[in-house]
């Protein structure tokens, strides 16, 4: 095939990611369960790369979990998202950086709906004006925050203090990547590599020295399923789908799981605890469970941030086995200390502890 033809085909899988001046919207789940991840992103962008990232305290939930729990209508969520765009416009920004894969999927669905059905855009403008008096513009550039870390993955590699290498064997670490269904399965063109070749996490892993594990259920859902987790009676669905993934990846001996979506991170961490408690099953080597990290946590570790400032101690599956493999220096005594160094109680019965 001619080089030109190849380039044209692969251009469908590329994504243009803005390089500065971001309007940042937080994730309900990431800020609740992995607040250190969002803190890392903001610190890295502002203090290491010197970028302009603005968070408007008035932005709210996108209502995405309610929408996919079917208690929020499409017209409602479109208008809530339009309000975020109005805050962005009022703050003078055109590039949006989204911290949540559910939100990201919502934004892609809404923008595509407005493109295909312009009457829906007009209707949303009317609704927002009637409800709040605000006006909005559609963002010029829309990135999930992992897209931005992906964009700067080589800069991170250049500044790396640690690599994704097992210091004892000298081999690359085996990393399972979990993209999150709503990142690019719905509207592939918004994701790095689309739905067929998603490379947003794989690009980070290989740039930082690791090896991506390809396993049969690699693209299977983490098991969230919205109402299938939100309602206690349905959680067997969620657990079963997570188990399906872990059983499939186990023979490949992953050193850790890297996630794009905060929901995936929570389920793949917490359901491992559940399986160990219910049935005594573990999916890692040496009788251990597999640490599950967000891309911000991993970038932070690679750059030499203190693991306890990244919040790794607040997962159920503890990460010390991974830290040891990578040769990361850490202070066990600092693990459960407050910001000003006061000792906190030590939590009991965690996994891999």
């Amino acid at each position: 095939m001619l080089q030109e033809g190849k380039k044209r085909i692969w251009s469908d899988y590329q994504k243009e990611i803005a390089d500065d001046h971001f309007f940042y919207v937080r994730s309900c789940i990431r800020q609740s369960f992995f607040p250190g991840s969002e803190q890392f992103f903001l610190h890295f962008m502002k203090n290491v790369l010197g970028k302009d990232v603005y968070e408007n305290p008035s932005h709210t939930t996108c209502t995405g979990i309610g929408y996919h729990g079917d208690v929020v209508p499409l017209a409602t969520i479109m208008t809530v998202v339009a309000r975020h765009f109005a805050l962005m416009k009022e703050s003078g920004y055109k590039n949006i950086a989204i911290s949540c894969v559910t939100s990201f999927g919502i934004y892609t669905e809404i923008i595509e709906t407005w493109k295909h059905l312009p009457a829906e855009l007009d209707k949303t403008r009317e609704y927002l004006c009637k409800a709040t008096g605000r006006e909005f513009d559609v963002p010029e550039n829309m990135a999930h925050t992992s897209d931005i870390i992906y964009k700067y993955r080589n800069e991170i590699a250049d500044k790396a203090k640690y690599k994704l290498i097992n210091l004892q064997t000298g081999e690359p670490l085996n990393v399972v990547e979990q993209i999150g269904c709503h990142y690019s399965k719905m509207f592939p063109k918004y994701g790095v590599g689309g739905a067929e070749f998603p490379n947003v996490l794989g690009g980070m892993i290989t740039s930082w020295g690791g090896k991506v594990v390809d396993y049969p259920e690699r693209r299977h859902c983490c098991g969230f399923g919205f109402r299938q987790y939100l309602v206690q009676a349905n959680r067997g669905y969620s657990l079963s789908n997570t188990v399906k993934k872990f059983a499939s990846m186990k023979p490949f001996k992953p050193d850790f799981v890297l996630t794009n979506c905060p929901g995936c991170n929570m389920f793949m961490d917490k359901w491992q605890y559940t399986m160990k408690t219910m049935e005594g099953t573990v999916y890692g080597d040496n009788g251990e469970s597999i640490p599950v990290l967000t891309y911000e946590e991993l970038a932070g570790l690679v750059l030499g941030y203190n693991p306890w400032d990244l919040g790794l101690q607040y997962h159920m599956v503890q990460s010390e086995p991974l830290l040891k493999k990578m040769g990361i220096e850490y202070d066990p005594g600092d693990k459960y200390k407050t910001k000003d160094g006061r000792q906190m109680p030590i939590p009991q019965n965690l996994i891999n502890a």
Partner: protein, 236 residues
């Protein structure tokens, strides 16, 4: 009998999600719900495209439409550009509008989702917030979650948070005027109406089932019933 197909056509997700299905079954092959439940999205799409009004009414009252997890994997894989999950979402919306959702165990759960995630939106400005995820209702969160909640001020402060305080940062308090705007958006766009529909039909069903119902909160027999009931015949 109302023309349900016409009513579904009012939902743009239905029109966008259904072109001509050729019954290949790829959606079912890729579907996480089909592996767990007695569920076949191919059959749903086949039925709604046939326009069989009696069949659609049966579907709207069934357990079936509540099995999908909305992962949207079917959208990627359909060779005809259909999105079975969008069709399911439109069926769920119509089922709630007409009050048919209370006819099934899984459908009745909409009341629990409205009283938790739905009401969190107005109370906190978040669908999910740490302080709204109780360890008692989420045993799978494990001892670390109990610990985080018991030490939340210290935990979040180290991570840049100011829990329930105004200003930027994780778990910040959403300003009252922002929450007020959310409420107005819900009123203008039909969100409040959907909440009211779910409440009205659930109250009626609670009465039929002889279960205590209260106008707010989760400490009532009907909430506990719909949140926990599992007759365990949902599987293949």
């Amino acid at each position: 009998m109302q023309n349900y197909h016409e009513m579904l056509m009012q939902d743009i997700r239905f029109g966008e999600g259904l072109n001509a299905c050729m019954n290949c079954g790829v959606c079912t092959a890729i579907c996480p719900a089909a592996e767990f439940y007695d569920y076949d999205p191919r059959k749903i799409v086949d039925l709604v495209q046939s326009g069989d009004n009696v069949g659609i009414e049966k579907l709207l009252k069934s357990e079936t439409i509540w099995y999908c997890g909305e992962c949207m994997s079917c959208k990627t894989r359909c060779p005809r550009g259909n999105t079975p999950a969008f069709i399911v979402m439109s069926l769920r919306s119509l089922s709630q509008k007409l009050g048919f959702f209370t006819e099934s165990e899984k459908g009745r759960q909409q009341f629990a989702i409205k009283r938790t995630v739905g009401e969190n939106i107005f109370k906190y400005g978040y669908c999910v917030a740490a302080y709204a995820v109780s360890p008692e209702m989420h045993l799978e969160q494990g001892p670390i979650w109990q610990y985080v909640l018991e030490n939340s001020k210290d935990v979040y402060e180290r991570m840049g948070g100011h829990v329930d305080e105004l200003g930027a940062g994780p778990l910040r308090k959403i300003p009252e005027d922002a929450k007020e705007e959310l409420k107005k958006i819900f009123e203008v766009t039909g969100g409040t109406e959907l909440f009211d529909d779910i409440e009205r039909h659930s109250k009626k069903k609670a009465s039929e089932m002889g279960l205590q119902f209260s106008g707010q909160g989760i400490d009532n027999e009907y909430f506990i019933e719909v949140f926990t009931a599992n007759k365990k015949d949902h599987h293949t």
